[in-house]
């Protein structure tokens, strides 16, 4: 018998600041090629020495984890499951640069030690003395969703009661410059939003999103996570059958979905996938979020936080509407999330009001 899985706490450090009640009402639309996350004060949470030594990804991760656990009143999670596309790239960049500049001499270990993809999950385990299951998934746009799948396995089978699930990616100057050279990120100086994007590339950013996920519904619960599916590659024409198979598996009809949260990012090719799914679901209200989060491998976690917010408070923050005119709805029950990047790493997630 599969157990139910609930989002009981959320934490985030993003371009829109940290997770809070006014998170969406105060949100502003991003219009720069690269936007860094607004940093909170880490004093009191992290020691001054560690604040200096740690990269932003590590600090944002610890902060978001703390928020998610506190909201769910979880002292020590049973497991820590994270996803990151590029890992701790700031430290990787740093070690690589000194390797090049000093021709393999005078290197120091700190940036190497902090460069492994599992650093954030490891630091959280250290901070909370969590000796349980600990893993980091690293697979492009489904890095976070792979962690979500792992979390569902842990909770549905009863292996764990509480899982700390998170996604983290950080702006690293050299890595992002290379992504600009490759055309993934828009050029410096371009000022376009997801909606009015005409130049090649996408607006990139960074962030950490954590969720305290449990097998029991609590007073702080946001929503229930029903299911997820992952697919490495698809053609636009295959999205409909991908979606229908997933809905059938979960005994859902397209009409059961009140909203669909799409990963529109302003890239013409990427957006073809989203409009295909949107057209398959004419009765679901289309929503988007990458105009607020920016693109990065684990940014889809921002979408999950948005879905959880809508289901908990039964209202859609106007800034999330994709269309200008939307049918009036008073109840939000089932929300579908769809994300992919460049035709790869497709994910579908269904969350439900609880």
């Amino acid at each position: 018998m599969k157990k139910n899985v609930f989002i009981n706490g959320i934490g985030a450090v993003t371009t829109q600041g940290v997770w809070r009640a006014a998170f969406f009402s105060e949100a502003r639309v991003l219009d720069h090629a690269i936007t860094s996350a607004e940093q909170p004060s880490y004093n009191g949470l992290i020691s001054p020495g560690a604040i200096r030594r740690m990269s932003r990804g590590m600090k944002m991760g610890i902060y978001a984890a703390q928020q998610a656990l506190a909201e769910a009143s979880v002292t020590i999670p049973g497991a820590i499951v994270t996803g990151t596309g590029l890992g701790c790239s700031a430290d990787s960049d740093k070690f690589l640069r000194s390797l090049w500049e000093n021709e393999e001499q005078f290197l120091t270990p700190t940036s190497f030690i902090q460069s492994t993809h599992n650093t954030v999950a490891a630091q959280i385990a250290l901070q909370w003395q969590c000796k349980g299951y600990n893993i980091t998934h690293v697979n492009g746009a489904i890095s976070f969703e792979s962690a979500l799948l792992d979390t569902l396995l842990l909770l549905q089978t009863g292996e764990e009661e509480h899982v700390l699930l998170g996604g983290v990616d950080e702006v690293a100057e050299q890595t992002y410059t290379f992504l600009q050279a490759a055309g993934d990120i828009k050029a410096d100086g371009i000022q376009e939003t997801v909606k009015n994007s005409v130049s090649p590339g996408v607006n990139y950013a960074e962030g950490a999103h954590f969720f305290s996920v449990g097998a029991s519904k609590t007073a702080s619960s946001y929503a229930e996570i029903i299911d997820i599916t992952l697919q490495n590659e698809l053609e636009v024409s295959e999205t409909t059958s991908f979606l229908k198979d997933f809905l059938t598996t979960n005994d859902l009809r397209p009409g059961d979905l009140d909203a669909v949260i799409l990963g529109y990012n302003g890239d013409e090719q990427d957006d073809l996938f989203y409009s295909a799914v949107q057209q398959t679901l004419p009765s679901a209200t289309p929503l988007y979020y990458k105009h607020l989060s920016g693109q990065f491998d684990s940014c889809s976690a921002f979408g999950l936080a948005a879905a959880a917010f809508i289901l908990k408070y039964q209202t859609v923050p106007p800034v999330l509407y994709w269309n200008e005119k939307n049918p009036a709805k008073t109840a939000w029950k089932n929300i579908l999330l769809y994300n992919q990047y460049k035709g790869k790493d497709h994910s579908l997630v269904v969350v439900r009001a609880c």
């Binding site: 820590i80 690589l96 270990p109 599992n118 003395q129 396995l153 697919q231 490495n232 590659e233």
Partner: protein, 399 residues
Amino acid sequence: MTDRGVAVTGIGIISSIGETVEENLQALLAGKQGLSRIANFPTRLQEHIWVGEIKRTNEELSDSLGLSLPHAFTRTALLGAHAARQAVESAKLQEIHDLQTGFISSTSVGGMDYTERYGPTYLNSPEWHRYIPSHPAGDSSHKIAQHLGIKGLVTTVSTACSSAANAMMMGARLIRSGRLDRVIVGGTDALSKFTINGFHTLMILSDAPCQPFDKHRKGLNLGEGAAYLVLESEESVQRQGKHVLAYLAGYGNANDAFHQTASSENGEGAFLAMQKALMIAQLTPQDIDYVNVHGTATLNNDLSEGRAMQRLFKDDVPLFSSTKPFTGHTLAAAGAMEAVYSILALQQNVVPPNLHFNTPMEELDLIPETTLRHRSLSHVLSNSFGFGGNCSSLIFSKA
């Protein structure tokens, strides 16, 4: 699902001791190690370290895979594709789409080998730009999946040196949950300047062939390689009348929560991981016939792992050996390569030797097997521990 675990129906490996399962087996039986001086790329450390390097250039590996040029396979992807293809052939998977087949890989180096080579040119010339998207860890998995023709659940784990163990564990759990019928799991890592210099700064690289569990051990040797297993559900095995090589009976993942790179004195994480694996396999410590230890030959690891084994097995520690003196420490791939060695041990009823061991450690009452030993084996435990306190253990049982 039976109590026996998830069936292993195919294995594939490439390492410095052989490019096929058979070559690896013959080297283990003959005690022929694969350490040498690094030859595939220039480095200041060339004369200072020993490595388990595969003496094949990227061009040779690419040719043997029949890849059309130009492509953007990094060495990590090339090695991975080589081993994964063997695993698929060994499992006699004719039509990869007839079942829900997934691919869960792991890597720590990813495309760093090409970024460190061509990164300095990226901002001046577009010549090598095709390798920019090859940098992230997940890219090698995509390339390998594409090479094998897999469409479906494809993802990647990266938990430093325990990566492949966790990828295998994730695959087994996906099968047990009924989400997949079949999954190819394992890991791949290429040698890179980044990692050899990184480990050098930590001062844990030995200037001689490594000596796991020896009092005078001086550190580890790095290596490269890849290995994959094909895991299938019992139903899938029965429907196809498949030959089962071994069962992945147990798995455990725990965190040491002690230090970013060092292991705790008492081996807490290692102890918990082994304990969990026994619980999942429904076995007692006495059921384990052989432990393929993580045994990197660093001062810290061997002491911590040894203490954990003494805590778990008390006065009755099973036969154990580290195969890292054969291959070097292949980081994310180590768990998968050692899974293949554990399965070979079960099939052949042999314990591979822990090479270069001379003097027992003072702190422990533990002596590894130093020569090839023939012994009937039913259950083998394989350990993989990594930076970040990530400790994982797997148990393989005789088919």
